[in-house]
Symmetry: C2
Subunit: 147 residues, 2 copies
């Protein structure tokens, strides 16, 4: 039987979260955290609504997943996020020792790969999953803001 729980399956859920951010006038980034094919956290960027630079989608999902698990380490968890994490979120993911990160579009300017933050050695990374969809959403957002 075909496994429906692919990286694309969960990235679509993260993209739905990103769409929700878009509708609120937030930079459209969404995230989910998955363990054993179950989504235990879902979130989207809320920095404008909360007036809080720390309210990135990833940060909220890390906190929510730890709450769900009753422990701060995200062992056997996978984060799906539509955009490459920034150095703040990469730093939080480092502390969480999360098993896997799957992100969509690159963020050449503010992503952790360019800025220099490091992930935990236990963490594996997959990039480029539904990257075009995530990047298109970002482009639509910034075009709509310029009008």
């Amino acid at each position: 039987m075909e496994n429906i729980f692919t990286d694309e399956y969960f990235m679509k859920k993260a993209l739905q979260e990103a769409e929700m951010a878009f509708e609120k006038g937030e930079i459209p980034v969404g995230a989910v955290i998955v363990v054993n094919n179950i989504i235990i956290a879902r979130s989207h960027n809320l920095t404008e609504m909360l007036n809080d630079v720390t309210a990135h989608a990833e940060m909220q999902s890390i906190t929510a997943a730890a709450n769900y698990l009753g422990g701060k380490y995200l062992k056997d968890c996978t984060l799906y996020v539509t955009l490459e994490p920034c150095q703040m979120c990469a730093g939080a993911l480092y502390w969480s020792q999360i098993s896997k990160i799957v992100f969509g579009a690159r963020d050449e300017q503010r992503g952790f790969l360019s800025m220099g933050a490091k992930l935990h050695p236990k963490t594996t990374v997959v990039s480029g999953v539904m990257a075009n969809e995530a990047a298109d959403l970002m482009k639509r957002f910034f075009v709509s803001r310029r009008k």
Copy 2:
């Protein structure tokens, strides 16, 4: 008239916060955020109590200060923190565009200077303020945990 509002004055307040973390069994790091010599946020590490890797002293103070100011940018603010910020906290401070960071002890292993995260070009940094006091508190904590 002598200015009592020195970096040492506010670092002592951050050290008091660190002592409160120590008493709770948390890694003893404390922080305050100051604008025009008024403390608008004070916090200490709560990662164990909250089961949340994001609950560093700095992160809590950034959120609290933004709440107080009604805006997410910490212009004209100074963060006093007893230990060199990690890459997560440096990343959050980057987004906040905070004016000044004063930290006490170096964190050679997990501090942002070794790990590679970057601060905002608008941010100035002063290090080593009451560093011995902050480092002694950390040493006392880890000795007490080994017993």
